[in-house]
Amino acid sequence: MNRARTSRLNTVAAHAALLAWTAIALFPVFVILVNSFKTRRAIFAEPLSLPSEATFSMVGYRTVMAQGDFLLYFQNSLIVTVGSLTFILLFGAMAAFALSEYRFRGNMLMGLYLALGIMIPIRIGTVAILQMMVATGLVNTLTALILVYTAQGLPLAVFILSEFMRQVSDDLKNAGRIDGMNEYAIFLRLVLPLVRPAMATVAVFNMIPIWNDLWFPLILAPGEATKTLTLGSQVFIGQFVTDWNAVLSALSLAILPVLVLYVLFSRQLIRGITSGAVK
């Protein structure tokens, strides 16, 4: 930032605002993590204090590991999230490339049609989706979830990626064509690397809701073999008794994989290899 245009006061104010925001955003995570290591009594007595020698307890984690098949739930969630993201990014980018690169009749209408899903929540169609899954025998499979999440994520992916792909220089693509690249090579080797930050944005936007979703796993795949982590954690929440130690431990564990994926994608967000490609 230009030193001449910023006063110390502005800098302090900006940092104060950012720090406050960080604190607010991290507070729930902090509470969950801290309390997952405490005894049940301590959770209710002093929810904000750090675990001390007297209140420290791993009972929640032990329950989680002993009860239910948590490793399987983890695996299911991971398969569904990674699978859905892969298809959203792949098909979204392909559709976006076609919309931004080729002139054809109905291009605008097709773009609007594909973007329409942004405004219509997919949950409205839950009953129809369930009927469809029953008819195709996909109930209680991870495939059902991956299909639904892919459909849910595609509109925004197509919308964001086609806007970004329009900004990729035509000259660059034409240079590739003259050098003998086919359209697939131009898409995969020239355009995709240049829209990597946009891909990462789309991935992050889609990842969290899919990972945390309770609705579709509950309706489409509630079987023991296909339970996702969020659905699996619900066994500890009862109508009359809730095992808070186990719930908080399960949630703490559930944060980890998302955190890893987020770190992976945000590296792409930051990396600026595109500068200097064209003036």
Partner: protein, 332 residues
């Protein structure tokens, strides 16, 4: 064998016709420049030659081969773009090698071709750098190198100097002329800058509204324009036009180049100086006549005239051009 021949080439985007019945032949070793105002279709014509756009009708031949339906990579052409269009993820060497790799050349051939291009363009120190680590002039040299290694039958340049600053533009212009002399390959060069057109071309093609207005050597176009448009487009400052009736001359319009006007003690073209540009070697005067027309006078050397001075202008009728009502040249 001609390097390029266009027969009756037209191109339309939907309802809009961008190119109309273009016929053109480019000889081997020739340097042809397409020039015209923006939107005249010169870039589209180049892209039709490259195969990046399909011609709506007509035939494109490169070294005698009909390539109208051939993809760009198989046309035997190489192209240099205004925005350089280097592959950002490859270093200089990789940028030059990519096309050859796709064409299935052996590693030895690729290395040898790159070595030749690098020597020609003095790119040795930059071989392992990415485009982001190069200056604008260096990037454009790499783009030219990428074209050279393909050993094309025809080079295509799409406003390659527009993104460079004035000093670099001059240097690169000289370099392109040198490369043309050393390689002896036909080149087509699109620009809106008439200095580039005049200094580089063996022949200039002046385009307007998708049609060829005139084709000829720079001096032929300058000294003997076919019509009002070509006369006004080439030359800086541009040609002065006056209604013929005012001078009692035949036709509708009379054109006189600024350097052919001289200051006289009296005459029909009397007026006042409204602006003076002193360039050192030249002095340009803007003179507004009694009738309201403004003429540009280019005087060589330095002159003492001031804004507001009353002057009269004269010219040798042999240096004047006459045009009819449609803007066509009337030759005597």
């Amino acid at each position: 064998m001609t390097a390029l021949s266009l027969e009756n080439v037209s191109k339309s985007f939907g309802e809009v016709q961008v190119l109309r019945n273009i016929d053109l032949v480019v000889e081997p070793e020739e340097f042809v420049v397409f020039v015209g105002p923006s939107g005249c279709g010169k870039s589209t014509l180049l892209r039709v030659v490259a195969g990046l756009e399909d011609a709506s009708s007509g035939t494109v031949r490169i070294v005698g081969r009909d390539v109208t339906r051939t993809p760009p990579a198989k046309r035997g052409i190489a192209m240099v773009f205004q925005s350089y269009a280097l592959y950002p993820h490859l270093d200089v060497e990789g940028n030059m090698a990519l096309g050859l790799k796709h064409a299935g050349e052996s590693r030895a051939v690729i290395a040898e071709r790159i070595a030749t291009a690098v020597r020609l363009l003095s790119l040795e120190p930059y071989l392992k750098r990415r485009p982001a680590e190069l200056s604008g002039g260096q990037r454009q040299r790499v783009a030219i190198g990428r074209a050279i290694v393909r050993k094309p039958d025809l080079f295509l340049f799409d406003e390659p100097l527009s993104n460079l600053d004035a000093a670099l533009r001059m240097a690169t212009r000289v370099e392109i002329a040198r490369i043309h002399r050393e390689l002896g390959t036909a080149m087509i060069y699109v620009t809106h800058d008439q200095t580039e057109a005049m200094t580089l071309a063996n022949r200039i093609v002046v385009l307007r509204d998708g049609k060829i207005e005139q084709v000829g050597s720079p001096m032929a176009l300058y000294n003997d324009p076919d019509n009002l448009f070509v006369a006004g487009f080439l030359g800086a400052p541009s040609m002065n036009f006056l209604p013929a009736g005012r001078l009692g001359a035949p036709g509708a319009t009379v054109g006189v180049r600024p350097e052919h006007l001289r200051l006289a003690s009296e005459g029909p073209l009397a007026g006042t100086i409204t602006h003076v540009e002193r360039l050192g070697a030249d002095t340009n005067l803007l003179v507004t006549l009694g009738g309201g027309e403004t003429l540009t006078v280019r005087l060589f050397g330095q002159h003492p005239q001031q804004v507001g001075d009353a002057v009269a202008l004269a010219f040798d009728p042999a240096n004047a051009f006459s045009f009819d009502r449609e803007g066509r040249r009337i030759r005597h």
